[in-house]
Structure formats: C-alpha cells, structure tokens
C-alpha cells in the first residue's frame, strides 16, 4: 500500500474524514518543525509590486518568523534576502521605502550591495587582517511576482511559484488585477512635532510649508495577534459549515447553499455568492444598494464574496469593493501574529469609500465572532477528553489542509 493510501485509511471514521490530532495544535516540537518544514519551504507574500517598482525600492516582511527584505536592484532585478545583518543580527531594513544603492545596517553601519554582498563596514581593519569580507553575503531567496504581489520562497530547491500552486489557480488569481489596485495607506501623525512647526509655518505664510506638516501616506500593514495556534485560525477560515450557526446574520446576505470550495494542490478557491434580494437590515441594505464593483474588478465575481487560501497560512478576502490579503505568522504554539494588506481602487470615490467602510464593519463583527469561537476551540483542543473530530462535506477544505499538513510534517498525526 502506498503512503497516500495508508494516510487515507488512517484518517477516516466510517464515511467521515477525521481531523488532525488535537495535540498538533499546542506541541512545541511540531511548531518548530512547521516553521522549518512548512513556512521556510513555501511561497509567501511579502508585499505589493508597487512597493518595489524602482531601483532601490525595498519592502520587508517575514516568513514563519524569519525577517525578509525584497529590493529592486540597479538593473531592475527583484532580489530577496534575509533581513538580518551578518555582523550582530540587527534588522537591516524596516517597513518600505527606498534604500538607494545599498542596504545599510542601522546598528553598526555594515553596508551591503543590492546583490547581497558586503560592500564595506566601518572600522574594517578592526576585524583583523584575515577576516574575509568577500565571503560575507546576505542569504538570498527565490523571489517572484504573481497577481500583483511579491512572493518569496526561502527554499532554493522549491519549484517555481506557478508550478508550486498550479497554473489554473495562478491564472484565476491574476484575473483579480491586484497589480492595478493600491494598498490602503496610513499617515503617521506626530502631534508634538506638528505643534512645534506651526509658528514657523504661520511666519512663512507658504502653502508648501503648511502641506509639509501633513505626513506622507505610506502603504501599510495592519497587525493583530491572537492567542491561538495558527492552524486553529486557518481551520476556521477554511470552512463555511459554521457560518449559519456562528454568523447567522450573514445568511441574509450570503447565499449559503451555493457556498462552494474548489480544492487545488496547494490552494483553495471559495465562492460565496451573495443573495440578489434586498436585506431588511438597514446597514446590509445600504451596502447592497450602494456597492459598486471596483473598475478593476473581474465581472464574473461581482455578485459574490470570494475567498482564497494559499498554503500554508495566506488568505485573500475578495469583495467587489476591496481585497484583503491576510497572512499568518506563527510566533509560538499558542500565539499567531497576522498582517493584512488592504487594497482598494486607485479611483475610489467617497461613496465607494463609505461602502468599503460598511463592509469593513460587517467583517470586523464576523472576525470578533470567529475569535470568540476559536478561543473555545483552542481550549477544547487541549482537553484530556478530546483527540480528534470528524469533518462534514462542507469542511472539505479543512480536510485538504490537514492532508497537506500530514504530508509536510510526517508524524504530526501520531502524537500521544
């Protein structure tokens, strides 16, 4: 019998598929193996292509806790490196921006060329004559652009991204035109500095000086931290079976019987059609009446909410008015940091912005409900009386996710 055959036999009870062993949701050794064997070998989203358009532009992110920097070099080639200085492990680059022609460590000034080689370090003679500075390089990783996003894989032996996820899901993802959208921005207001500058602006009476008080908007990430294992959050995202019970109000908008996941090798595409009829709830009705798909949005998805999961912990919420790229970064067995990049149309009107805010309100409520549910699940998974559960047809994507985990981390299901 093949390994796959054994796995299938061991993971079914009667006709129902079994969930992963509950111990895998809190075990320290499994957590470390997941970082090394799953996250460090997967294609992971780091940012938007607009963040690294010009030579010297850089953006940063992380892969399973490993800091990564992506930079466009002087020849226009996109490169990805470990974002850790080889001297004393300081973070090299922070956030997004332009680094010019070199990456310079903010701690002791070690300076790297954009091909990752060490250009020089301050007081270089102090490291001794035999120190081989030419041998010092930032570890480099595979990098690719797909669907308007920049992806990195730390594993040099990993297949190219289109082969890894499969051509069909890549083509569907590209049809979303995220490359034409802009990430929502945040302004970093510093009230004390602004107050201090006001007298000078008043004296100068120049409009440009006044404008300079408004901080530049930056493409930003929205961070959150949850006291759950990353798989608990992923399981919850991947199934619609809990929607009628956990989020009953959503049924007035979502045509639940038509909610349908399509499984790909390392991805899931979930169609969540919206009902045509107007809701009697005021806010839902407002959303239904005034929502207008972004000009860049694919026509065939206009009447639905769509969700994509890219293995291992990347989730894309696709609404006609906004697209939210949500990623998980496991920090410990029971701690998961998440980052969101929220995209909107560059031509968004005031009305579109209001509709997007209403949508944000709905989905924030749903998220709050999910967090409460996951709180209970996480406690339950640690119970002496629970080992594993069974999956409904509507939880097929969870079963698929668990099979990928079983393949990636052999023994994950055998804990006692």
């Amino acid at each position: 019998m093949s390994a796959t055959g054994r796995r299938k036999k061991a993971t079914r009870a009667g006709g129902a598929k079994l969930t992963l062993n509950a111990k895998a949701y809190a075990d320290h050794e499994i957590f470390e193996r997941e970082r090394r064997e799953i996250f460090a070998k997967a294609w992971m989203i780091i940012g938007h292509v607009a963040e690294v358009q010009k030579p010297g532009d850089f953006t940063t992110g992380e892969i399973g806790g490993e800091p990564v920097v992506v930079v466009r070099d002087q020849d226009g080639t996109l490169r990805a490196f470990s974002n850790i200085c080889r001297h004393r492990a300081a973070r090299l680059a922070d956030g997004r921006g332009s680094c010019g022609k070199v990456l310079r460590c903010p701690y002791h000034g070690w300076t790297y060329r954009l091909d990752g080689s060490l250009a020089a370090m301050p007081e270089g003679r102090g490291f001794g004559e035999d120190f081989d500075r030419d041998a010092v390089r930032l570890p480099s990783f595979q990098v690719a652009e797909l669907g308007g996003l920049v992806w990195v894989n730390m594993d040099a032996d990993a297949p190219p991204i289109r082969e890894w996820f499969g051509e069909e899901i890549c083509a569907r993802f590209e049809s979303l035109n995220i490359d034409q959208l802009v990430p929502t921005t945040k302004r970093d207001w510093k009230p004390r500095e602004i107050l201090r500058a006001i007298p000078d602006v008043v004296r100068s009476r120049k409009v440009d000086d006044a404008k300079a008080l408004i901080p530049e908007a930056e493409y930003d990430r929205w961070y959150a931290r949850y006291d759950h294992n990353w798989k608990t959050l992923a399981d919850n995202y991947l199934e619609g079976y809990h929607v009628p019970i956990g989020h009953p109000g959503l049924l007035r908008m979502l045509d639940y019987p038509k909610y349908k996941p399509t499984l790909y090798e390392r991805a899931v595409w979930i169609d969540g059609p919206l009902r045509d009829n107007p809701s009697k709830d005021f806010m839902e009705n407002l959303y239904q009446r005034y929502k207008r798909p972004m000009a860049e949005f694919p026509e065939e998805l206009e009447g639905q909410w769509t969700y994509i999961h890219f293995w291992p912990g990347q989730f894309i919420d696709i609404y006609p008015d906004t697209i939210d790229v949500w990623q998980m970064h496991p920090e410990a067995p029971l701690s998961t940091k998440t980052t969101s990049i929220v995209f909107r149309s560059p031509n968004e009107s005031f009305r579109d912005m209001l509709v997007r805010q209403i949508n944000y309100r709905f989905n924030s409520e749903v998220m709050d409900e999910d967090v409460e549910l996951c709180d209970g699940v996480q406690v339950g998974l640690g119970s002496m009386t629970y080992t594993r559960g069974v999956l409904n047809d509507n939880e097929a994507a969870v079963g698929h996710f668990h099979d990928l985990l079983r393949d990636a981390v052999p023994g994950i299901d055998d804990l006692s």
Partner: protein, 119 residues
C-alpha cells in the same frame, strides 16, 4: 452552557438544509399529490431568510409537516416524503437550541419521530 437569550438571528442557522433540499422535495411531493407547490417553494424560503423571524420559520415547518402527512397518507413520492420528514425531524431536534417551541410544535416533533420510527 450559560443561560442566554436567543439571538435575533440565531434561528437562521436552521435554514441551510431546508433551503438546499426543501424546494425540490416540496415540488416532487406536491406534484405527486396534484397540489400547487408555490406557497411552500423556493420563493417562500428565500423570503423567510430575507424578512422572516423565528415564528414565521416555525409556521413554515408546520406547513411542511402537513405536506409530509399528506404524502405519507397517500403513499405517493415515498422516498421524497421520507427525506423531507427526516429533515423536518432534525429541524425540531435542533430548534430548542435557537428558539422556544410551542406545545403544538413539540407535538409535531413527536409526530415526525413516530412517523419515521415506523418506517
């Protein structure tokens, strides 16, 4: 479980299985009985999900139970009648988690249990 009041939308959690299978079963059973199925079909379910409440849902379940009774009595569309009866039995078993059943609803529930036990 803490004692809690039922949420305004909780009853909606009952609707998916009925929405998924109900209209087709109603069409087949009512068709076999020579009745119109308009009043119990897809539009009714969608209307309830959009504008209804727990009481209206229970009234709908009662109407479906009556259809099951007519189907069972006449012996037509046996398979469809049995499936609809099973779905309704589960509705009444699930309902106490999200709403309060009246005496009449509990009687319907027991009636469906008995009907399916004899099969």
């Amino acid at each position: 479980m803490t004692s809690r009041r039922f949420g305004r939308h909780d009853w909606l959690g009952l609707t998916p299985e009925v929405e998924r299978f109900g209209p087709l079963l109603v069409e087949r059973i009512a068709g076999a009985l020579g009745e119109s199925h308009d009043a119990l079909g897809e539009a009714r379910v969608e209307g309830l999900i959009r504008d209804g409440d727990a009481a209206a849902w229970l009234a709908y379940l009662a109407a479906l139970t009556a259809l099951v009774d007519r189907g069972a009595a006449s012996g037509v569309a046996e398979a469809e009648t049995e499936i609809l009866a099973e779905i309704l039995r589960d509705q009444y078993r699930l309902a106490p988690g999200v709403l309060v059943l009246s005496e009449a609803d509990m009687a319907r529930s027991q009636h469906l249990e008995a009907l399916l036990e004899t099969r």
